[in-house]
Symmetry: C2
Subunit: 158 residues, 2 copies
DNA sequence: AGCAATTCGCAAAAAAATTGCACATCTATA
DNA sequence: TATAGATGTGCAATTTTTTTGCGAATTGCT
């Protein structure tokens, strides 16, 4: 019988994840000495964590205001109809929208919660038109403008 | 008169940001050939983008389910009192909480919107006790459990 | 036009990541 | 208990990437 991929994560892996979750540009040599392994061992573990999908991706976080897109808006969307194919179409639309940085399908009165980035309210207005009015299946949506992004991209506690 | 840091971002910078926002492990050589610059030029630009804070940080995104913390919960918090010092204390508490991955201070009826990661509802329960009941200044909070994280960590459109 | 400041590319140097390999550890099984 | 297989490690060598020095080209400003 073939062995399953068996994604086993030991304490070394957890320590590595704790570190790269905060700074993935840290040299493997530094990671190695902090957790008590050799650099090649760290490299092999990192490679496996990436291939197995435990590390989903590695990205730079850019300061929105520095690139003139200072507005973060949280949107609560209620659907007209909860038919699966219609929901899938909505997810797809949100997934594809460049302004939508995050999309959650949630329980409760609301159906979707979006976190959106725009340069100004005009862009937001246009986005709502495309995404909610022309897109279809949206009963209503509620807009919360963020006055302050107190915390973003926090690490997952391990 | 001394010149200010003058964070000027040209088209090359924008292209670099587009790329590293999706994959910051891409070698500078590859970035260089894609945008039509030499590797050292790319390196210098990246360094400046990081030092100037246009790139806020570089992180690995880990798959929550793979590390046995599968629950994403969106929480809407309403405050008792909007005194500045009390609000700051709340922000500080949310900022420090390991479960809170994101925190937005927003306009509207709600005051804070949190995005939380927990391994199960027991952990969430305990967190609400610490953060909302014992923490003080919370009038009420509403809990939305995410059934599906349709999109996370989307890039800022440039 | 001309000067100063910036930014570039190339080539060399330094640093980091990867690979090959021998050895240690653990498991399952004869 | 012995043993074969699988897994994972560290070291050393190799390869790749990043960084640095420097002269040349470009840009901005007077």
């Amino acid at each position: 019988m073939k062995k399953r991929p068996a994604v086993t994560i030991d304490n070394f892996d957890l320590k590595i994840l704790q570190l790269v979750q905060v700074d993935n540009m840290m040299p493997q040599r530094v990671i190695a000495e902090r957790i008590g392994l050799s650099p090649p061992a760290v490299a092999r573990r990192l490679q496996q964590l990436r291939e197995s999908g435990v590390i989903r991706k590695d990205i730079a976080i850019v300061n929105e205001t520095a690139v003139a897109r200072p507005l973060t808006i949280i949107v609560h969307v209620t659907t007209e109809n909860e038919r699966l194919d219609l929901l899938d179409a909505m997810k797809d639309r949100f997934l594809r929208s460049r302004q939508v940085q995050q999309c959650y399908y949630v329980t409760g009165e609301m159906d979707f919660i979006l976190i959106v980035n725009v340069k100004d309210m005009a862009e937001y207005n246009e986005m709502t038109r495309e995404l909610f009015f022309e897109g279809g299946n949206v009963k209503s949506f509620r807009t919360c403008v963020s006055m302050e992004n107190v915390k973003t991209n926090g690490p997952i506690p391990l």
